[in-house]
Amino acid sequence: MSANPAGARPARNKIQTSGGDKLAQFLIYFFVVLFALLCLVPFLLVIIVSFTEEKSITINGYSFLPAEWSISAYKMLFSSKSSVPKAYQVTTIATVVGTLAATLISFGAGYTLANKQCRYRNGLSLYFYITMVFSAGLVPWYMISKMIGCFDNIWALIVPSLMFSPFNMFLVRNFVREIPDALNESARIDGAGEVRIAFTIYLPLCTPVLATIALFYAIGYWNNYFNSVMLINDQNYYSLQMLLFKIQSEITALSKVSTGAQVTSAPPKESFKMATSVVTMGPIILLYPFLQKYFIKGMVIGAVKG
């Protein structure tokens, strides 16, 4: 974008303040704030309901101003019989291991495809591109996953579907292409080996794009329940999302356990659902500022350069 001439700014400011345009400006601000709030309010509801006493939910329904507050849902969530901590552990392992592997695989492939020394790079691009336009669907995917041993174990949550996306690889390739070749040549002349050029020169330079694709992958892993639905029967390997998806059975199991101790109060069914949702969103909320920064950056990198 060209630099603004010094006199331009006041002119634009004048546009905003002139007469009838004030109303338009007000409407624009009003609309933006309204939409932003609409995006936020459902999350507030979830958080508030998770702290609501079950009795007030049964009597008054979901409400932003509950009659009675309670943390019993969270107590139940972290009780020794709860499967939430276990699912948390499983999901964290899958996300961390998967994201690291996926990012490295994409970097390796993208780096090679961008490298002019590699004569088959165009053929290879085509090899990956074809898989983006044609996929055979669910049944082969299921059978192959099972055949290679990704069934009822942690690998089922890491490997199938999630560990490589050609789209992310092409993002890396396009990013590496923008780096001048002179860098590669001068490193070579200085005596750097292939390994060193790739991992100590190019890898650090690729941090912005790698952070972006790592986030794509991490969100994909964290929010995935499809792999669990398809490939997991053993409850010990339920991911967090899957547990949440099947929460009804978890609530039944937990309330059976606790009925002996506290017969008087009903199990916190609705609030338990919402409390589990809150802890599931937890890491995303915590990492959000970081996430947002790289997502916007990455969207602009990957965006059509029209």
């Binding site: 634009r12 995006c39 049964t58 329904g61 949440l244 998806f245 995303i284």
Partner: protein, 318 residues
């Protein structure tokens, strides 16, 4: 960006090379690309032979080499009422999402571009982007909290005013709008980013010249922003048109689940394939439906990519 795929670049004139020499000389590069190649081979290329199942009566002992039955599975599917239902649902839902979604995203980007208070812009954008990162499972519980029959927010308000409860989860008529609103809510903030980036790239000088010539805010949007945004809109829309035959399993299955009263409206090809596979345990029928989706989907994706390449050379990823 993609020119090199067609014609050899000046740096590497295409003459015949000994493949073994090439592999040996750049062995490190090929080792780097190998994991991705193996992964793609296993999950994509190896799945091709499995498509034969669609033409067989599948038996777990014989696998891909089960007895051949010709087009029987396809016949069964296309004669059932589901063929039309799931095709229509997938297309209607995707077209709704795409048309309304694009209009909303472009409108939001234009509106955001008019916001000059930096803090407000940043904060509101973070809120708008947030739903994008949340899983559909959580969204489905929020929705239950809002629409639920027994204690949902809307029904609370209705009964509070003395009205009669609406059983949303039993009446399919509400669900195209509900699904559309959910999709808009979840993706607009995200989709607007690309458009906003494109708008920011427009030369400021154009707006100044227009202002000096007396163009109002609306005219500046209508005659500068929108026309210059058109290529981006076209490219992104075409790319999505290619995906129009694929339903969003993650969304539909989390929200509709096994609720059979909503299926006439909300069952899409992807969920149907999954359900036939899980419920009947017969992969043949499921594979036949999957193949139908793959072939039509391929034609659509390929054509839309081809159009993008032809008309917007800079827009295609390849």
């Amino acid at each position: 960006m993609r020119g090199s795929m067609r014609k050899p670049t000046a740096a590497a004139p295409r003459k015949h090379v000994n493949p073994f020499k090439e592999l040996w000389r750049n062995k490190f590069l090929y080792i780097l690309v190998l994991p991705a190649m193996i992964y793609t081979f296993v999950f994509s290329y190896m799945s091709l032979p499995y498509m034969a199942i669609a033409f067989e009566k599948f038996n777990y002992k014989t696998g891909i080499f089960s007895p051949f039955v010709g087009l029987k599975n396809f016949e069964y599917f296309f004669k059932s009422s589901w063929a039309w239902t799931i095709t229509r649902n997938t297309l209607v839902i995707n077209v709704l999402f795409l048309a309304v979604g694009t209009v909303c995203a472009v409108a939001l980007a234009i509106v955001l571009n008019e916001v000059h208070a930096k803090r407000l812009l940043k904060t509101s954008q973070s809120f708008m982007l947030f739903p994008y990162f949340i899983s559909w499972v959580i969204v489905s519980y929020m929705l239950q909290g809002i629409l639920g029959t027994d204690n949902g927010l809307i029904n609370n308000i209705i009964t509070g005013m003395g009205g009669e409860k609406i059983n949303f989860y039993a009446d399919p008529n509400y669900w195209y709008p509900i699904l559309l609103i959910l999709n808009i809510w979840k993706t607009t903030g995200y989709n607007a980013i690309v458009y906003l980036a494109a708008i920011t790239g427009i030369d400021e000088g154009l707006y100044e010249a227009a202002y000096i010539d007396g163009a109002t805010r609306w005219k500046r949007i209508r005659y500068i922003t929108l026309p210059l945004l058109m290529p981006t809109i076209c490219i992104l829309t075409l790319m999505s048109v290619g995906r129009i035959f694929y339903g969003d399993f993650g969304m539909m299955y989390a929200i509709i689940r096994d609720n059979s009263s909503l299926m006439p409206i909300a069952e899409v090809i992807d969920t149907y394939v999954y359900r036939t596979f899980k419920n009947t345990g017969d992969p043949s029928l499921s594979m036949a439906v999957g193949l139908y989706q793959s072939v039509v989907g391929f034609i659509l994706v390929f054509t839309s990519n081809w159009i993008v390449r032809r008309h917007f050379p800079d827009g295609a990823l390849f």
